[in-house]
Amino acid sequence: MHYYKMLLLAFLLLPIVVFGQQDSTTIQLNEVVIKSVNLQKSIYQAQKVSDFIQQINTGKDLANQLKSLPGVQVRKSGANVSKPIIDGLSSSRLVYMVNGVKLENQDWADAHSPEIDADLAKNLNILRGAESVKHGSNALGGVVHVDAGRISSNKNINGSATLYYTGNTRGRGAHLKIQQNSGLIQGFAWRLSANNSKNGDYHTADYNVANSGTSVASYRAELTYKLQNVEIESFYSNYKSKQGNYFGTLTGNVEEFEERIEHGQPLVTFPYAFKIEAPYQESTHQIANTTTTWKFSRKWFVKSQYTYQKNHREEFDVRRSVSSTVPVQDMILSANHFNFELGFKNNTLHAALGVQIRNKENYNQPGTGVTPALPNYLYKEKSVYTHHTLNLNQWLLNAGLRYDWAIMNARGINFLGQKYGENKNFSALSAQVAAKLATEKWDLESSLSHGWRIPESFELYANGKQHGIPIYFVGNKDMSAEKGTKWMNTITYKAKHSRFEFQGFINKVENYIYSVPTHQYKQLFSGPAAIFQFKQQDALLCGIDLIHSSTITPRLEFTNKFTWIHGEEISSKNPLPNISPLRLHNSINYQLPVLGDFEEINLQIGHEWVGKKNNFNPDYELSSQTPSAYHLFNIAASSRYPINQKLTLRISASIDNLFNTLYKDYLNLHRYFVHDSGRSMNVNVQCNF
């Protein structure tokens, strides 16, 4: 079995050597080739967070920076822990690509954010029409790209320094980027980036939410070296975050637990604190990556990538017998990726053939005194893929195939001292087809992709209380892989002063995995915990985004976005839990080129309405009531202030939740116990040099 796979991989690599030799005589046109090949271009149109939105959201986490994009909602645990949802799917149903590297996350529970510092990114974008062939398993919902952008070609040291303040949490932070395209070694460039931020407790409109602070410290070093037709890019990044867990959800007995849900907000509040105390979680994610691209002929290139990742997650709780500095969960996830791609591109065809190897291991460090939430496990995946894009005047056509083999061998000991785990094998075919027609007034895009996802070890083997809130998860080791088929369509009409966009999708997911309350309680000595059981059945998700923007005057733009999404179990027609209610967003943007010494002035007034979730299954919720509809208003302004030719300031200020509305969002897991964030006045000043 193993040998034939190796033979297959060797066979796939053979053309590289062969084509390399064949084209070795036609390599004189290097310069032309480099300019004509755009490896990033894709039929799948990425939706990018605008510079203005990124600027005014500095200091916020990834999910909150992405939420301006159609199809994106935010799954929260409180207001300080959040993760993006794309078209109703989140966590391991999304692929996060950080500077071209597939992130191996430890975000198996709702209370875990992706380990990504959005402030160090230049480009934040998402792909909703999942490129399941290129990005592999887990891209059922979509792909999030977080990219630092290319290093400036400036021969002098240049960069930016930013200071920012978040009013609601009294948080502050700073980040620094410096870079240079070295004049000493031709083709050599470097960049260093650092970001450090700390936020205290967040406030709802009425009260402080205790122990809800966060801190982030991240660093990245990048080197690129380009010599003729070979380009080597390397980076190392270190992301460290600490997130406090609100502890007011803990209760003593079932009646109090239900009373607390009924009450819907803390019985007792505590004064604001900047310091994070137990319970809290801390994670450190390191990535080391080298990517080599060699355009060995006018039309051919090969790309080889090796990545090592190490995640260390620790969760701390209030402990009695040992110090609270001893974690209750202490796990290390280490991963190796090797990707190899042979590519061809000319004016009409872009084709690629690739192999990917993805190995990871989870190891629970001994000595916590608490049963680990996950078993120790080994995960190994080998993949081959090919995809082809044809450019025919106004048409772009794409098709691709991929096959993955994977094993997951897990071993653990549960809280009763019993051994569990087994060796599991998986394999699946992924495929995609897509077409795009671009005319002067109309853009039509349609894609159909079929992908898969192996159940997370947490979904298979969970048997314990989640950190921070009294929810006790019970896994199901017999669950099989999810397989999703997503049909995504975008129709854009461009009039003279207006633009209308329709985005719609249907996603049929076989063996969809989700957890629902059993309405029973696990009586722990620390109080009752509501039991949530993982289950699996076929599900259908579908959704529509309508986007309209009109230029009223050359300086004034009006934008409306409407989002509807629905998810149901196919057999019973019961609504799925955690699917967003209706959302409407309106904004007015006013731009001024110059005002006194200020340039590029941008003002925005935004309004967001989120409806009450009506089509839900009460059996799948802890409460029979869902949060009321709410309106939020935001204002923001940004401007550039040149000091001299080499030095400019970029200043922005914003107020979120302008009228300090007390509200809860259905997608917030803590909605049963606390409200969402109140008003926040934010400022950031960026100095570009």
Partner: protein
């Protein structure tokens, strides 16, 4: 030139195959690291068992003296014990019989916690770090007139409680070297109840609070009463158990002794003669053999 161009692709492919090989040389039946059994390494993070021992007795001043225990007594027992522990599936086993109290009597309650290895771990609560942030509270919940669904109007006054924790926690007060922690530093591992009402059934809600912020004392430095914890305390708890309790009779005076015997008989479904014989067996136990003090 040609040699150079041939060399590059071969080198690239070789390096790639080498890296690929490094990633894939392990076998598919490799196992992850052997898991560690955290249940045995530090078996004292969560309680595996907690027992509540009620001892009937009387006071010498403020010192409690327990009535002697006699194994032959079946109904009018001096000592009653109720325990909560996990079964093999990890579920908490709830007791199926209540604690029975008598109005006018005094009952000492001693709470003992055990870890997964069966070791007593009360000392964890009385350590220098933990004592200021731990306190047991005793609430009367769901009080009814006995054997009815009618609410008991004097629920608040059914019990009074006096904290009698000792230092060291496992020493018996009156023994040499054992002192009282005092009413200013209540833990509630030891204490005694006065039973002020009769003919009621209720749940004795025993809560052990574990404070994250601050200490168990109010802003004036006083502890909160045994049945009135601050709401701020209730956020984090190490224990919250409801013990079923029945106050089925009252201590007899001279003229209602027969009623007392009859109520014992009815409570335990025995004849009045059996009840009286049991009572006599209890009261005739040599008093000097009662060597329990609190």
């Amino acid at each position: 030139m040609k040699t150079k161009h041939f060399f590059k692709p071969v080198l690239f492919a070789l390096v790639s195959i080498l890296m690929l090989g490094l990633n894939s040389c392990s076998k598919d039946d490799d196992l992850p690291a052997t898991p560690n059994d955290e249940n045995t390494e530090l078996g004292h993070e969560e309680w595996s068992k907690v027992s509540f021992r009620f001892h009937r007795g009387h006071l010498h001043g403020s010192t409690f003296h327990g009535s002697p225990s006699n194994e032959n007594v079946r109904y009018f027992k001096a000592v009653q014990e109720i325990s909560y522990e996990y079964d093999e599936a990890g579920n908490l086993i709830l007791p199926d019989s209540p604690i029975r109290l008598i109005k006018g009597e005094i009952y000492a309650l001693e709470i003992t916690y055990f870890n997964k290895n069966g070791e007593r771990i009360n000392a964890e609560f009385t350590s220098e770090i933990n004592a200021p942030i731990h306190q047991h509270f005793f609430l009367t919940k769901n009080a009814k007139h006995i054997d009815t669904d009618m609410d008991f109007s004097n629920a608040e006054s059914i019990l009074d409680y006096v904290y009698r924790d000792t230092n060291p926690e496992d020493g018996m007060y009156t023994n040499e070297g054992v002192s009282l922690r005092g009413a200013d530093d209540p833990i509630g591992l030891k204490g005694y109840f006065f039973v002020n009402e009769a003919y009621t059934q209720f749940e004795l809600n025993v809560i052990l609070v574990h404070l994250i912020h601050g200490t168990k004392w109010d802003s004036n430095g006083n502890p909160f009463p045994f049945n009135a914890p601050s709401n701020a305390f209730l956020g984090t708890q190490d224990l919250n158990i409801k013990i079923p309790v029945r106050v089925f009779t009252k201590r007899p005076n001279n003229d209602d002794f027969d009623q007392f015997i009859q109520e014992i008989a009815e409570e335990f479904h025995v004849t009045a003669e059996e009840a009286e014989a049991d009572w006599l067996e209890a009261v005739e136990t040599p008093f000097e053999s009662g060597n329990y003090w609190m």
